[in-house]
């Protein structure tokens, strides 16, 4: 796989760097996302590493269909593991007011889940994203169909169904794979209900380059072992732009998860994050994120008595954008776990990141 990546990189390097916009058919983007965490409590985790290296090829296949192929290598426990990250056929020309994808892709639910980590406005995943979805995004193979409702205001509806054999981050997937072998492939059984999801999005224009997008999300899946997952979410993005900069950004997601299994207790959890960012100049941005996470079904060990709990984090973040293609970011994470009748557990981390994008111009998504 590494060899394939290397050959592709070398083969595309000349076109990508010399005259990208003159490449008539295929667009090429290479992206690096590097991190250096400095955990104050667990110094053994402090290691600069490449979080991901991606090579994405995309373009029209013919007058009707497009294709995207994204190879990525992710750092997992210190080792770069390459994989086909996304690979899908898509079209926005076949059915009026609609678009669809077939293949392997980031599921079109929530806000963060639809973007690569190098396109996020902060460094690390809020706990709600990591716990309920994945460290980057839930990736699966299946089909997704989106359509614009024929109304005077913007209402975009997405429905999707994917095979659902795995769910969550790569790390979770690998863990599941190991677990599968250990437990005689119990988890790799055909899921009782494959992963299915629905997202409805609306947009409100407030004039003067201000706009708010909000979405309602549902995702469900029942694993081969009968564990049922139901996720309900609300995501909000507000932007105010001035000239060439987004001078104020507010982004938030609120999720509720309901887990149930035939022989297990009901598990209910909720989490949210809210991030606000101001442009200090064309190149400098400062923001702060607040994360919240709570379990409604946590018991004191060995009892049926509920244990009150709350996990929260405050994450101030600064970003320097050298250009649209290179930026540097620093964040401080103050994470506090409160458990009833226990002392608070506090963890502090300083994170440094750089992102580099080579090749085709990245899309300015709202």
């Amino acid at each position: 796989m590494i060899r394939v990546l290397f050959v592709l990189l070398m083969a595309t390097y000349s076109t990508a760097t010399y005259a990208q916009s003159l490449v008539q058919n295929m667009q090429v983007t290479a992206a690096l996302d590097a991190l250096a965490p400095l955990n104050f409590e667990h110094s053994q985790d402090n290691k600069a590493h490449l979080r991901s290296a991606e090579l994405m090829l995309y373009g029209p296949l013919d007058p009707t269909f497009d294709m995207l192929l994204n190879f990525a290598a992710h750092s997992e426990e210190g080792e770069m593991k390459p994989e086909v990250h996304e690979a899908y056929l898509s079209s926005s020309k076949l059915i009026p007011s609609s678009r669809f994808k077939l293949g392997k892709f980031f599921l079109g639910v929530g806000r963060l889940n639809q973007f690569h980590t190098h396109d996020w406005p902060f460094i690390s995943a809020p706990r709600v994203q990591a716990e309920f979805l994945a460290e980057e995004a839930v990736i699966d193979t299946g089909g997704e169909f989106s359509f614009l409702l024929p109304l005077d205001s913007y209402w975009d509806v997405t429905v999707g169904i994917t095979n659902g054999y795995t769910f969550g981050s790569h790390l979770h997937e690998h863990e599941e794979e190991e677990s599968e072998h250990e437990h005689e492939n119990e988890e790799s059984r055909r899921p009782h209900v494959p992963t299915h999801y629905l997202r409805v999005v609306n947009f409100q224009d407030f004039g003067n380059s201000r706009g708010l997008q909000w979405g309602l999300n549902y995702l469900g899946r029942t694993s081969g072992l009968g564990q049922q997952t139901q996720l309900y979410g609300l995501d909000v993005v507000y932007k105010r732009t001035s000239g060439k900069t987004v001078d104020f950004l507010f982004q938030s997601e609120l999720w509720y998860r309901h887990l149930s299994a035939p022989a297990e207790d009901l598990d209910q959890e909720a989490g949210a994050y809210a991030f606000a960012q101001w442009a200090l100049s064309e190149q400098f941005y400062a923001g702060v994120r607040l994360d919240l996470f709570k379990s409604f079904s946590l018991n004191f060990e060995g009892t049926t008595e509920r244990q009150d709990n709350l996990n929260y984090a405050i994450v101030p973040t600064v970003t320097f954008k050298n250009s649209e293609f290179t930026y540097f970011r620093a964040a401080y994470v103050l994470d506090t776990q409160k458990l009833q009748r226990q002392s608070d557990q506090v963890e502090q981390t300083l994170q440094l990141q750089f992102v580099a994008l080579l090749g085709a111009h990245p899309a300015h998504s709202f």
Binding site: T17, Y18, A19, Q20, S21, L22, P60, P63, D66, S92, K93, L94, I95, P96, S97, S98, R99, S146, F147, L148, S153, Y154, D156, V201, F203, D205, S209, G211, Q213, K239, T241, S242, G243, K244, T245, V246, S281, E282, Q283, S323, E324, F325, L358, H361, P362, A363, H364, S365, F366
Partner: protein, 291 residues
């Protein structure tokens, strides 16, 4: 039978009266389309002229407007590359996507300036491989660009082709006359710009430009660059440096302080919600700022 025939005639009449729904990226292009399409088009611009069209985002309200459009007209030359492709693909409207009958890039008809030669990569800054895309500040170039609008409208509504052709000739003539008239009011002057978005204006009116304050397009100039250009401006007796509202204040002030040259903040596009609301008004504003 008579009723059916009547209904058919009514349907045909309604169809004949249906206007072509055109969405443009900028108000400047909207004016070109209105001039050529006349009563046969309805036109709305996605941007209001106050934004930087290179850094705009694929807003959902843009997607909705494009979803309902028969034609989408853009400047092209990669000016809107960051957001327009996303808007087009998310609209689910095959008519206006590349290859569709309603896809219209005005820059295709324009002989561009600052076309880079040799190796092109991002070490050169935000370079456009097909040349400087800010041709809207030359009335004559805007006239040229109307050729693309004529092609697309004539293809969609061949019954009114001759009217579109007549409108186009009139528009092209008006633009050429406007440029000639305003040029006669200006003498020889030496000017500068912050970003290469006034280049076509300088070129159209025979103004001598000593260059841009940005060393590389889209990259804010360093302190050394500002100092160097301030020296050049002094030496060449530059009258004015043209900038837009997006130009960083500190850079503007520093350059003024070092060079003694007045920096004028002016719009580089027609504005939807405030003056200047027409191509002519914008040109006159720019010319008057030199007098």
């Amino acid at each position: 039978m008579k009723l059916r025939l009547g209904a058919l005639i009514l349907l045909v009449s309604v169809d004949a009266l249906a206007k072509i729904n055109v969405v443009t990226t900028l108000p400047d292009i909207a004016e070109v389309v209105r001039a050529i399409g006349g009563d046969h088009v309805t036109v709305q611009s996605l941007l209001s002229g106050s934004e930087d069209p290179h850094y705009a985002e694929a807003r959902p309200d843009f997607i909705l407007k494009v979803n309902k459009a028969d034609v989408v007209c853009s400047m092209g030359l990669d000016l809107e590359i960051g957001w327009l492709p996303k808007v087009l693909s998310k609209s689910g409207n095959a008519r206006v996507q590349p290859g569709g009958k309603g896809y219209c890039e005005l820059g295709r008809s324009v002989e561009t300036l600052n076309k880079p030669t040799g190796r092109i990569d991002r070490s050169l800054g935000d370079v456009h491989a097909h040349g400087n895309p800010h041709f809207n500040l030359s009335p004559r170039k805007l006239g040229e660009s109307g050729g693309e609008v004529l092609k697309v409208l004539s293809s969609l509504d061949p019954a009114n082709k001759s009217e579109f052709e007549a409108n186009y000739s009139k528009f092209d003539k008006t633009m050429n006359e406007l440029e000639a008239q305003l040029k006669s009011q200006l003498g020889k002057m030496t000017v500068m710009e912050y970003h290469q978005e006034f280049t076509y204006f300088f070129n159209a009116y025979g103004l001598n430009s000593v260059g841009s304050l940005e060393e590389k397009p889209g990259v804010p100039p360093s302190a050394a660059r500002i100092a160097k250009m301030a020296q050049i401006a002094k030496k060449n007796k530059v009258s004015v440096l043209y900038a837009t509202a997006a130009t960083p204040h500190k850079i503007r002030e520093r350059f003024e302080e070092l060079s003694g040259v007045k920096v004028k903040t002016l719009p580089s596009y027609v504005q939807s919600h405030q003056d200047p609301k027409t191509i002519e008004a914008l040109q006159k504003l720019l010319v008057e700022s030199l007098q």
